[in-house]
Symmetry: C2
Subunit: 212 residues, 2 copies
Amino acid sequence: MSRTRVHNLAISLDGFAAGEPQSLEAPFGHAGERLHEWMFKTRFWGEGGAEGVDDAFAVRHEVGIGAEIMGANKFGPPGWQDDPDWKGWWGPNPPFHSPTFVLTHRPRAAIEMEGGTTFHFLDAAPAEALAVAKEAADGKDVRLGGGAMIVREFVAAGLVDHMHLVQVPIVLGRGSRVWDGLEALEDTYDIEAVSTPSGVTHLTFMRKGTEG
Amino acid sequence: MSRTRVHNLAISLDGFAAGEPQSLEAPFGHAGERLHEWMFKTRFWGEGGAEGVDDAFAVRHEVGIGAEIMGANKFGPPGWQDDPDWKGWWGPNPPFHSPTFVLTHRPRAAIEMEGGTTFHFLDAAPAEALAVAKEAADGKDVRLGGGAMIVREFVAAGLVDHMHLVQVPIVLGRGSRVWDGLEALEDTYDIEAVSTPSGVTHLTFMRKGTEG
């Protein structure tokens, strides 16, 4: 059974997955890289990194994934659709290594990158995009890569089986908030929380009655 | 040095300390009592309760406190100001046992209760109210009792030395949110998080450079 999963989505205490304004120079706005420092210190991120609790969560990003869906705001800074040469933030070998579907109202031709990543561009509603991605995932799971807007849309549509958020002890005050429009997730998901020595708290949402 | 402290303020994952609508029958609106179940299970709440991590946090509510300040929304349901006989939710012996200052734009005469609690009614800005409460606390600390609105007002005004929030794994979606209007608390406070077996996460904010 192919599932839809969110991993390593870092949020502030007040629920923002990115600050503002987002730009080429500041992809996460006034948040800078503060939401992701916990991850940079893990072995998941690089040789010599720590293999503690944060790493145990982080590595699941890769396990059993056959395709990714991401929002337009993750693929590039505002206006990337006007740049025909924009190929994402990640250089020639992006860390997705699978078919990667970018949701945008201005789709373009697919881009084949090194390392198994091919960017496909889709103008589609969540359920429709997920059907396409599941076909491409060939029985494996689909990762929903973010940002906050697309995650909350898919959760609201009942399409997410597993969600892993990482709450970082900062208060951003403004930006893109993962909670907006959501309510009573505890009815649909078993929720666990664990704080780690780095200061973050991992939250897992596992769909009830499934292996979510 | 008399400090200003917040204890046991329970919030949902999305930051709401109460749901809506608040009423005599439902003081916390659609949240019901779900934000406080963790506390009902502690020895702090009653004989036979558990003495684990949740209790260790909960009991600090009492320690070293000489006065409380609360918002009008904590003292009674909407419209309590129209009922001359309203004396709070807590019966003849309220759990404050100290001078307790209710901030309201419609003050009334003080009410002396059993057990050391006297309700005083103040129409005052945060700093002014705090000066009055500190005088009454006679060298001890002042507890800021909530709800969310008054806590965020006092935090924004730089008046809070220690804040303890308890994040409960539910998503309320609407109500009174503690984070609104706040930003960059990490600049002012050292922040710690610890999850406990009950499923909640205790967040402590300790003012930097003090004993907060």
